[in-house]
């Protein structure tokens, strides 16, 4: 396939806590295996925002509190407006865990003032207090709002204290079969907006869910090249086995 694909990786040194880079590796490798000339473009504090304009796909991962604070000022001030503009223009983006919360309007901690988000996604996150348990564990869900992928099961691991509620502009990504999802109450997980996705499946969401990786790659190429793109199938047998293991383990 005679295409180029630039994958923006936001804050690889700050927002990459627990295997987040697996997502970028999978996007790059699966593109390359199909002959797409894929490049990973690290975007961090010192990177000029205009570098984002050359990118066709955006990824942002989880962070520890101190690191997120360091990234926060630069992101909200310099890069988020451009990311928002790109997402509105159908450029696919993937926000995982802390980045998913950060893409919303705000995060309301138990104590103290609201932490402003980037407002890329119409959602809010609230921490219900010290006594509320952290939502930790293996999770299985069924995709409901990506037409090409509706009905397929996705698996992952979640570990979050904040509870996220979607606004009217967002669609939930999936329905939880086992685990907690966005807030442990409405049995919904993640969010979809245009071609972009947010998820609490932290760290490596894409390695065990290659269908989502291919969806993002396909949309990125279609938006950039303005035509329908069909990706050749790959042998995903080990990914499917890894998926099956979790589904079996949690009894979903």
């Amino acid at each position: 396939m005679n295409y180029r694909l630039n994958i923006a990786w936001l804050y690889p040194d700050l927002m990459s806590t627990y295997g987040d880079r697996g997502n970028v590796m999978v996007l790059a490798r699966r593109s390359a295996w199909r002959g797409v000339d894929a490049n990973i473009v690290p975007i961090t504090l010192e990177t000029p925002p205009k570098k984002l304009r050359s990118c066709d796909l955006i990824f942002m991962g989880g962070a520890q509190d101190r690191q997120q604070k360091l990234a926060s000022e630069d992101f909200l001030g310099n890069k988020a407006p451009l990311v928002k503009e790109m997402v509105e223009k159908n450029v696919p983006a993937l926000f995982v865990c802390a980045a998913y919360q950060f893409a919303g309007h705000y995060y309301r901690p138990y104590h103290g003032e609201d932490i402003p988000g980037a407002g890329i996604f119409d959602l809010v996150t609230i921490h219900p207090g010290d006594q509320a348990k952290r939502l930790i564990g293996n999770v299985v869900a069924k995709i409901i709002n990506i037409p090409e992928l509706t009905g397929i099961k996705i698996v992952g691991f979640e570990n979050h204290g904040g509870r996220t509620t979607l606004g009217p502009k967002m669609l939930p990504l999936a329905r939880v079969i086992k685990g907690y999802g966005n807030n442990s109450e409405d049995r919904l997980e993640g969010a979809v907006y245009k071609n972009s996705i947010g998820s609490y499946f932290h760290g490596p969401l894409l390695p065990k869910n290659p269908q989502i990786a291919d969806f993002l790659i396909k949309k990125a190429l279609e938006v950039t090249y303005q035509k329908t793109v069909e990706l050749p199938a790959l042998d995903d047998s080990v990914e499917i086995e890894a998926q099956k293991f979790i589904i079996h383990k949690v009894g979903a």
Binding site: R21, A32, N159, V238
Partner: protein
């Protein structure tokens, strides 16, 4: 020691005897657990009997080896040492080790206590004992679902150190910014070890680095030398903070690997602090045998098998570096997701498996064999992942026994099969290799 405490020790000893006699376990945690139920502060009376004192060793990686080295040096000095050698490093493990060395009346037959302590348990243990020295090795991301973030652990430690007796000495890794920061924050006497030999520097920066931002001002840290992960000769351009002056910059390590060099430095500096002469230390560590599962060697049918316990990204990267320097032909990776391993295996994406050349055969096994298979698949430029193909160089074998056999088939006589397992996988593999339970 009160009568109740004496009874507690007696009950603990009985539990220990029962569990060993009836092979219910190694007696590493239950005696302590039950003793703590009857006398929650039992460690205070047990620990206060140690006339030499107590040394605690904490950190993400290297606790077991470092505490074993310190014990070895002290024993060489003719001291009796109580030590939680099985790696049971919560409060109950430390109490169990003391009970094991105590008489039925609760008298400990030892001069020193050398205990490795779990990162989260350090504050709890410090509540019960006043150690002579606290050795802090490093902080790396490890089992996020269990330990939380490294910054959170550092904060807990900082708080706990505020209440420590003022004659306690901190033995700190100056090359880990988070650990040396604790020394600057605490009012205790601190001694620092670290490296100056720039020939040991890492050739490329690893991805899994945690603390590369200044804890004083938040700016990005600079390094004169990075040895591995975020460990190195660091300084801050913005506020001028830098690595503290080293009290011990080099020593000959009895074991291969950069990690063990740091473990050695920590042990030697601790021993020196208590007046052990340098030549005695050298003598004591000559022929030091590694702790179980840590570079432990077995010979099977004329082939050598070497186990490198690898339980988090920094540890795995260090093991890989050592193994690849040994020009290995075959590597077996064993990934489990039980409680001691952490249920979340996401961290395998932070390990730089890309450094394994395509020519090296990789065998994957363990509970999460397919997660590891996926990880290795994405390190390979070509897309051949046949389950049993010689060509692909990747073998996927869920059964640990068969995986070891497959690994042995890949190496010639006189060659070595390197096995990198997570904790519970290491115990399983050891059981297969030795034909018996651990310890």
């Amino acid at each position: 020691m009160t009568f109740k405490e004496q009874m507690t020790v007696a009950v603990g000893k009985f539990v220990s005897w029962t569990s060993k006699t009836f092979r219910l376990g190694a007696g590493a945690t239950w005696p302590g657990e039950i003793a703590l139920f009857f006398s929650p502060n039992i460690l205070r009376s047990l620990g206060s009997q140690l006339s030499g004192g107590i040394i605690l060793v904490a950190g993400t990686n290297g606790k077991t080896t470092t505490s074993l080295m310190i014990k070895t040096i002290l024993e060489h000095e003719g001291m009796m040492v109580v030590h939680n050698k099985s790696g049971a490093n919560l409060l109950n493990g430390i109490v169990s080790a003391c009970i094991d060395m105590a008489t039925g009346k609760g008298h400990i037959k030892a001069d020193w206590g050398v205990f490795e302590v779990d990162e989260n348990s350090l504050p709890i243990v410090l509540h019960e004992v006043s150690p002579k020295a606290i050795v802090l090795l490093n902080l790396f991301r490890d089992q996020l679902d269990r330990y939380g973030e490294v910054d959170v652990i550092a904060e807990k430690w900082e708080k706990a150190l505020k209440y420590v007796n003022s004659d306690t000495t901190l033995i700190l890794n100056a090359d880990d910014p988070l650990v040396s920061f604790l020394g600057k924050k605490a009012t205790l006497k601190a001694k620092y070890f670290g490296l100056t030999d720039t020939s040991l520097q890492a050739k490329t920066m690893e991805h899994a680095t945690d603390s590369t931002f200044c804890l004083f001002c938040g700016a990005r840290l600079s390094y004169r030398t990075v040895f591995f992960s975020h460990i190195g000769d660091w300084y801050c351009r913005a506020c001028g903070e830098k690595r503290p002056r080293l009290d011990l910059p080099s020593w000959k390590s009895p074991l291969p690997g950069l990690y063990n060099l740091y473990n050695t430095l920590a042990s030697v500096l601790t021993a020196r602090t208590f007046g052990v002469p340098d030549d005695h230390i050298t003598q004591a560590l000559k022929g030091f045998a590694p702790a179980f599962g840590r570079q432990e060697e077995f010979v099977i049918d004329g082939k050598t098998v070497k186990l490198f316990l690898s339980k988090n990204p920094a540890g795995f990267n260090a093991s890989l570096r050592t193994v690849l320097e040994c020009k290995s032909r075959a590597i077996l990776l064993a990934l489990n997701d039980r409680i001691p391993d952490g249920r979340d295996v996401s961290w395998i994406w932070d390990v730089d498996f890309e450094k394994i050349p395509d020519a090296v055969t990789v065998i994957v096994t363990g509970d999460r064999v397919y997660d590891m298979a996926v990880r290795i698949k994405y390190t390979r430029t070509s897309l051949i992942v046949n389950r049993d193909s010689q060509k692909s160089g990747l073998f996927v074998e869920p059964d640990i026994k068969k995986a070891i056999q497959k690994g042995l088939d890949q190496v010639k006589n006189e060659e070595t099969l390197y096995i990198l397992p997570t904790y519970s996988a290491m115990l399983e593999i050891r059981k297969v290799l030795t034909g018996k339970r651990i310890l």
